[in-house]
């Protein structure tokens, strides 16, 4: 009690200097940080204990050396990148078109892009299997390649809410309609407008959409399992069922990848000269 009183007394002049100086803010921050850090540290610590009695990277070498890890990770990585490209190619023109030509359609489009969040993935998976099974009019589950296409379609759908929202928010920061008209009057066609004006201006938004897509695809289990594709999600689940230390190591690796992506986004933001001062 006494300690608390002296604390507040000391804090009074400090608080006047601004929220940063308020010790309670630091306490809240510390509690929040502990909430995230303790499990993380625990997990890292656990992942290092594969060799009895001493810390080692055995679990990591075991995971990274596993050819299945390499294959599934590479598979999901490629799927994620392709999903991002498809998503950007669909969403950027669509969002722009809705903004300049069909503003009344906006609520409908927003509702549509929310559907993947409302409808469970398993419904989409079963739907695909029913529609495209080997005895259907379009047997897309017949070959590995066509099943991959199906999986990509599913991934694109799952990523749609995030991609659309990210890009639409990015478009909100510029006057899409007038910039388009300005470019048109200077002789530019749609490809030029998209590539030289729109994409560079929503680059940050596209990146964050891409990043979210990336993590969704890497972690996705249901669709890949239903369609029986060798993706990273099913691998993680299988590993979690069979081993003790490796799943923890895998989680740390996934975490590192996530943070790497966030760092890259930050870095890319720094390289956009035209917004540097506008942001601060």
């Amino acid at each position: 009690m006494t300690v608390a009183t002296t604390d507040t007394a000391a804090a009074a002049p400090a608080a006047a200097r601004g929220p940063r100086a308020n010790p309670w803010a630091w306490v809240a921050f510390g509690v929040g940080a502990l909430y995230f850090l303790v499990p993380l540290v625990g997990m890292i610590e656990f992942s290092l204990r594969k060799r009895r009695g001493t810390y080692s990277f055995d679990a990591y070498t075991s995971v990274l050396g596993d050819p299945q890890f390499q294959q599934t990770f590479a598979f999901s990585l490629v799927m994620a990148l392709v999903t991002i490209v498809i998503g950007v190619l669909i969403v950027v023109p669509a969002a722009i078109w809705v903004r300049i030509r069909l503003p009344w359609l906006r609520p409908v489009v927003e509702f549509l892009t929310l559907l993947p969040l409302v409808i469970p993935v398993i419904v989409i998976g079963f739907g695909y299997i029913r529609l495209y099974n080997t005895s259907s009019f379009l047997p897309m589950t017949g070959t590995a390649a066509s099943t991959n296409v199906l999986l990509l379609m599913g991934y694109t759908t799952l990523a749609l809410p995030y991609m659309y929202r990210a890009i639409d928010t990015g478009l909100r920061t510029i006057d899409v309609r007038t910039l388009t008209e300005a470019a048109q009057s200077l002789g530019a066609g749609w490809t030029t407008i998209l590539a030289r004006i729109m994409l560079p201006n929503v680059f940050g938004a596209v990146l964050s959409g891409a990043f979210l897509t990336f993590s969704i695809v890497l972690g996705e289990y249901v669709l890949a399992a239903l369609l029986d594709r060798p993706a990273f999600g099913p691998y993680m689940v299988a590993l979690g069922g069979n081993r003790a230390y490796e799943p923890a190591a895998l989680a740390v690796i996934a975490f590192a990848i996530t943070w790497g992506c966030m760092g890259l986004i930050q870095l890319a933001g720094r390289f956009q000269k035209h917004t540097r001062a506008a942001r601060t």
Binding site: L179, E181, A182, Q184, S185, L186, G187, A188, H274, T275
Partner: protein, 352 residues
């Protein structure tokens, strides 16, 4: 002879007819302003010329070529927007060079043209900056340079100055006019500021409710307004009701004062017509050869600098009166009794 030709132009949004039978011919190198109140369809006309809206009816031709079927990017038209609309991700030089790059102009030629344009707008050293590092006036200059760099056939400006503050607005409008004259580019300028339109235009189109009410030089528009709307919209006006006595001879009565107008009147005897007088045609005291003299009382005095604007009450109506400031003659105080006079020759007969 006429370079940009608009005839029978119409535009309806749903059931709302925004532009109704708009006609205009503009000669090559001419500077024409579209002037009118908000919502009268100025922007819509401009956007149809640029190709951003499709006319419901009518034709638009540039240099003899019908452009109605052409998309905006094929029209070779330069456009300057109220909101500047510079590309935020490109530098000033890249913005100005955008149209040339799209056209496929070679790098050396492009850079030379960009440098030339930046010099013309008085910002030769700002090529490497980004738009957010410029003031509003500078941004609009860059937008002007960007629109003109690819040598468009027609330059369209939609209220390019209304986002700027008063001083910059006046400086920039003169600059736009100077650059336009130097390059000899055919220009259509949209504004709802009559002073702006009068000071820079070769001709003014006064628009109202989707039609061109009058097309003429600023001098004609101001001194011989064709319609009541034009007379009221452009400048300040004192209006009078007069009863027609003899239309052929131009004899009317103003109150109970018989007045003989310089020409015949297009109205039947016994009907009422509107007459108008600019404040500067009304004279404090008895002027030389002013036929009409009215007793008056000063109500308000507004000192505007070179001009003093008085409000006087006379024969039941209030009139505005402008007189030049003279250092040796202070304006009369409010409440003072005086006389005002004018000449019937200066009266404007208001049409429909």
């Amino acid at each position: 002879m006429s370079y940009l030709n608009i005839s029978g132009l119409q535009k309806a949004f749903g059931s709302q007819r925004v532009v109704k039978d708009f006609n205009l011919s503009i000669a090559e190198g001419e500077f024409v302003s579209l002037l009118g109140p908000s919502g009268c369809g100025k922007t819509t006309v401009l956007r149809m010329v640029a190709g951003f809206e499709t006319p419901s009816a009518g034709s638009i031709s540039i240099g003899g070529q019908d452009v109605v079927g052409l998309p905006p990017q094929a029209r070779a038209i330069g456009m300057v927007f109220q909101a500047y609309a510079l590309f935020p991700n490109l530098t000033v030089a890249e913005n100005v060079g955008f149209g040339l790059k799209v056209k496929g102009t070679g790098r050396a030629e492009r850079e030379a043209r960009v440098a030339e344009m930046l010099k013309l707008i008085g910002l030769p050293d700002l090529g490497a900056r980004y738009p957010f590092q410029l003031s509003g006036g500078q941004q609009q200059r860059v937008a002007l340079a960007r629109a003109m760099a690819p040598k468009p056939r027609v330059l369209l400006l939609d209220e390019p100055l209304s986002a700027l503050d008063a001083k910059v607005r006046v400086a920039l409008r003169n600059e736009i006019r100077a650059i336009q004259t130097e390059l000899g580019i055919t220009t259509v300028f949209v504004t709802h500021d009559q002073e702006e339109a009068m000071s820079v235009s070769d001709r003014i189109v006064v628009m109202n409710g989707g039609i061109a009410e009058q097309v003429g030089t600023p001098f004609e528009i101001y001194n011989r307004p064709a319609t009541r709307f034009v007379a009221n919209f452009v400048g300040t006006l004192n209006t009078f009701e007069a009863r027609v006595e003899d239309p052929e001879a131009g004899r009317v009565t103003l109150g109970d004062l018989p007045v003989r107008l310089p020409g015949p009147v297009a109205a039947r005897a016994g009907t009422t017509i509107g007459l108008a007088l600019r404040p500067e045609q009304l004279h404090l005291g008895r002027g030389p050869d002013h036929e009409v003299v009215l007793p008056a009382r000063i109500e308000e005095v507004a000192f505007l600098g070179s001009v003093i604007r008085l409000r006087v009450a006379t024969a039941g109506t209030r009139l505005s009166l402008d007189t030049f400031n003279r250092p040796d003659t202070p304006p009369p105080p409010p409440g003072a009794a005086t006389e005002v006079s004018f000449s019937v020759r200066d009266m404007i007969v208001l049409g429909g």
